[in-house]
Amino acid sequence: MTTATEVQKKEGFFKRLFNRPQKEYWNAYTGGLVLGLVLFASFFLTGNGLGASGGLSRMVAFIEDIIAPGHVDRVPYLIKTAGGELNALDNWIVMVSFGAIIGGFISGLRNGRVKLETHRGPQITDKQRWFYAFVGGFLFAYGARLARGCTSGQALSGGATLSAGSWAVMFAIFGGAYLFAYAFRKLWN
């Protein structure tokens, strides 16, 4: 009897949690300013900036190390993160990535935006969108490893510390996207 009411209560709680009224996103300049403060705080306290692809990379190395530890020890690129006794997840960047997921979830929850849905352009189906999202993620991550960092680790963090190479990467990312935007206009318009 008590369990039944608890379940009911729980459902009520979750319903209330996930069905909050959906709020507007922040003003872009406000968001930028707060992001700048987070980035500065990171550098100020730790000497390191932000990053996302590095955490994902270690996730891959961690999974590979479970499935095929022998293989990890033979691939030079993986040895650095997961070779031998190394735990690929034992690194600060993994914490930042996990934190980003938690932070995104908290913000989404507070503002009623945690919802199972697919965002896509009007001319394609959900399934097509999923396919392109997968391909895009594949390409972006490949490029990010090649450039030693993504929009966060290179463009944002390196941009603020005025690294010459990071500015080159930043222009290449935006340049590449604008260059191919017309070719892929059907996906979004």
Binding site: Y25, W26, N27, A28, Y29, G31, G32, L35, L37, L45, T46, G47, G49, L50, A52, L56, V60, Y77, W92, V96, G99, A100, I101, I102, G103, G104, F105, S107, G108, V114, T118, H119, R120, F134, V135, G137, F140, G143, L146, G149, C150, T151, G153, L156, S157, T161, L162, S163, A164, A168, V169, F171, A172, G176, A177, Y178, F180, A181, L187, W188
Partner: protein, 413 residues
């Protein structure tokens, strides 16, 4: 003395360090979601000039963080030398960037934003993250085929200040003005392509722009700390170490260090070239004092087990270089006590004696005291004495390896 960035690895236990990074990550994810970066259509609209939120958030963040960083460095709160600055690998960076650009327009996210999309249950975000994991897997399987491309065109810690030979303040002002110009142009484009009503945009953004420009001009006015400023901040503490002879290591300690394979020993011989040619230690690098400033970034980037020992004929020149390097936050720097003169006194063998025509009279400070009939370089036993060939004296070891404060890999590890 500059105290930030904090040497967090020495202050906190590992769990504390990870908690700090987790909190930073939470802040990161929170802002990304709140700015609308979990919505792929909003991100992609950027590239059709309909909604330039990404551009605005991105460059506002860069400018704000940049001004705060260099502002804190200017007043001596933050040590820029200990901040991770992404090293430049030009061509792999540019090609990687272009590939990322294609991934951006096809996938509708970048890795950071896809994490918040995944967190808020956007199915396209989940597929994107899955694709990214496979992309990383594919990279790790293929990159070892083209190591020269991946590791080539390396320029080390190269900043825009180095590239254009401009002071920090001016570069910061140019970046700020460029961002403001892009915001202005971006809003015009949004009005045309996105039918955005600009009259509803908050007026506070003009005040913000004014504050940014004023801060950048302030940076030009204050300037960044010079080596002399940096030395003054730490002079009390470090001069005492010099005076108490805590950093001058005896020949015997250097000899043992030369034979210690666990340490990455960097010996810097800062004497004139002719003295170096007459005699120097095996593996000692010839570096003139005026060349040291351009090498600081490389020194800081060396592994944590790196130990620097500086030597001149006696100690004066070595001490000046020591002060310069310590003021620039290079860790683990020591001076060879008594310099090369003392080394030769201690370890000369009959072989060296044969080429020695006596000692110079009225010796100047920090001058090589022996008259050699031939330039020996390091082709003599005293340049690399073997441990077993010498009787050992008791000495109190002075070298204490500090934990490295500067990060050795940024967000790309």
């Amino acid at each position: 003395m500059t105290i930030f960035p904090l040497p967090i690895d020495t202050i906190f236990l590992k769990i504390g360090v990870y908690a700090i990074y987790l909190l930073i990550g939470i802040g990161f994810g929170y802002v990304l979601e709140s700015s609308g970066f979990n919505k792929s259509t909003k991100l992609a609209a950027q590239f059709y000039f309909k909604d330039l939120t990404v551009f605005k958030v991105f460059f506002t963040a860069i400018v704000a963080a940049m001004l705060l960083l260099f502002g804190a460095a200017a007043v001596g709160l933050l040590d820029y030398n200990l901040i991770w600055v992404n090293p430049t690998y030009l061509w792999s960076g540019i090609i990687g960037g272009l590939v990322m650009g294609v991934g951006f327009i096809v996938g509708g996210f970048c890795p950071g934003t896809s994490l918040t999309a995944l967190a808020t249950l956007k199915i396209d975000g989940i597929f994107y993250v899955a694709g990214a994991l496979f992309g990383i897997f594919a990279f790790s399987e293929t990159i070892d085929e083209v190591p020269h491309f991946f590791d080539g065109s390396y320029f080390g810690r190269l900043t825009l200040m180095d590239l254009f030979d401009l002071p920090v303040g001016l570069v910061a002002l140019l970046v700020t003005l460029m961002a403001l110009f892009m915001f202005w142009g971006g809003e015009k484009l949004e009005a045309i392509y996105g039918k955005v009503d600009l009259s509803k945009a908050p007026k506070g953004r003009y005040i913000g722009a004014g504050v940014f420009v004023a801060a950048a001009i302030g940076l030009i006015a204050i300037g960044q700390p010079t080596n002399a400023d940096r030395w003054n901040w730490i002079a009390d503490e470090q001069q005492a170490r010099l005076d108490n002879r805590e950093v001058q290591i005896v020949t015997e300690e250097l000899l043992h260090t030369m034979h210690d394979s666990k340490l990455n020993l960097v010996m810097l011989d800062v004497r004139a070239e002719k003295d170096y040619n007459l005699f120097h230690l095996t593996d000692a690098d010839h570096v003139l004092p005026e060349e040291v400033p351009s090498m600081i970034n490389d020194f800081i980037a060396l592994p944590a087990n790196t130990l620097f020992v500086i030597m001149s004929n006696d100690e004066s020149a070595a001490t000046e270089v020591w002060k310069y390097m310590v003021a620039e936050s290079v860790p683990n720097v020591y001076i060879l006590e008594g310099g090369i003169n003392n080394w030769v006194d201690t370890y000369a063998t009959p072989y060296e004696d044969e080429y020695c025509a006596g000692e110079k009279e009225d010796l100047q400070d920090d001058e090589f005291k022996y008259i050699l009939t031939s330039a020996l370089g390091d082709h003599c036993p005293a340049a690399y004495p073997h441990l077993e060939d010498h009787e050992h004296i008791e000495y109190t070891p002075k070298i204490k390896m500090e934990l490295k404060r500067a990060p050795s890999a940024g967000g790309c590890g």
